[in-house]
Subunit: 235 residues, 2 copies
């Protein structure tokens, strides 16, 4: 039986924009594992009850339920060691873990003012009040204020600064994993899929090598991420 992934969706069930779910979807593709991505909305907490918490991604593999994108990556390598490894050894795992800790602080923090308001435009009706309230609480300000034009402009400047370390690496190597992508690539890439899906006409404020790397990842697995439905730019 195929694996099942609870994957955050907007009002349009095909609009999948969670940065953490993108990490997991790329990981499943890398492992070559078939999976069904079940659309899930913020307020459907009871559907995740058997994971013991209320956030996605949640992976169901037969009788096994795993939540948290990092725990899922570890699980997939442990449960499917004969499939391509996301992290081939302790060195790769340490490298991916550093990229995650760095990315969650530097990249996701910069993306928040850029992407949160755009999410509000695409969430399901039943999620809207929950999203507004939970984000206002988490961000310390109502979404409108947190995502003011000034904050968005600062977000793009912060994102450009945050992404700078990538450029030098990607001048010498095709992937953060060297010759081949590894889970660390999917962590950073997955973060950037968030605005890519929800912000109309989003352009990566980065150097040419970083942009080429992003395109390369969009093209992996027969263009899996690159062909994902996203909010269209205004004509």
């Amino acid at each position: 039986m195929a694996l099942e992934l609870y994957d955050l969706a907007g009002a349009d069930p095909d609009l999948r924009f969670s940065p953490y779910c993108w990490r997991t979807k790329m990981a499943l593709k890398h492992k070559g594992l078939a999976f069904e991505g079940l659309p899930w909305r913020f307020t459907e907490k009871e559907r995740l009850a058997n994971s013991g918490q209320g956030r996605v991604p949640v992976l169901r593999d037969g009788a096994t339920i795993v939540h948290d994108s990092w725990a899922i990556a570890d699980y997939l390598d442990r449960a499917y060691p004969d499939h391509p490894m996301l992290m081939v050894d302790a060195a790769a795992r340490a490298s991916a873990l550093f990229l995650q800790s760095w990315s969650d602080r530097a990249v996701l923090a910069a993306l928040r003012p850029i992407a949160v308001k755009a999410v509000l435009n695409v969430v399901a009706n039943e999620d809207r009040a929950y999203f507004e309230e939970s984000r206002a609480k988490g961000l310390g300000a109502p979404i409108e204020a947190f995502c003011s034009p000034e904050a968005v402009a600062q977000g793009y400047r912060d994102l450009e600064a945050a992404l700078k370390p990538l450029e030098r690496v990607l001048s010498d190597h095709a992937y953060l994993g060297g010759e081949r992508p590894f889970y660390g690539d999917y962590i950073v890439f997955g973060s950037l899929m968030w605005p890519r899906i929800v912000v109309p006409g989003f352009a990566l404020p980065a150097g040419p090598q970083t942009i080429a790397w992003f395109d390369r990842l969009e093209g992996l697995f027969n263009g899996y991420a690159g062909s994902a439905p996203r909010v269209a730019a205004a004509a």
Copy 2:
């Protein structure tokens, strides 16, 4: 014949505090290569003339002269592939290169207000005017102003924030390289040896796992870095 490393020194020729030279010294130790660390002062540009530039580290290996700590690490793995590798493959090289790009921006930038004035206290007399002038130009302000008590306090806060991604990695792994140290460890560690040597009583503003990792690196190669002369804290 042993390799020769031009290594930045203070008025006391045994006081070696360059973060870039520390990266190279740890790299040479890792490779198990004997080397002589020649004390070099900022103003002795003519001694580096055969490297085609004026900064250290510069490595002389017989007829081969290599400058720039990253180029030296690459050279050592290429020239001595039968010695322990600093970067075992393209994945390790990409990981180390990311750590360098990140570290040079986040860690060294935070360290500057903390360490630059302390360097002024230890440089050789003949270097003093050069150091004051070149740093004022590079930093955009005289050293006294750039290293004001407020700037130092901010530097410690920035350093604490910059080092946070390390803590999670080092909770699961002994080194950034996983089970064994690799060049990426030496890059970050070398940066932190700068204040460790010149700032009396310097304490790392970091979590327990990061501090344990720093101690572990000081202990490598029979306590090579840990036993290096440093400026004593006031009694």
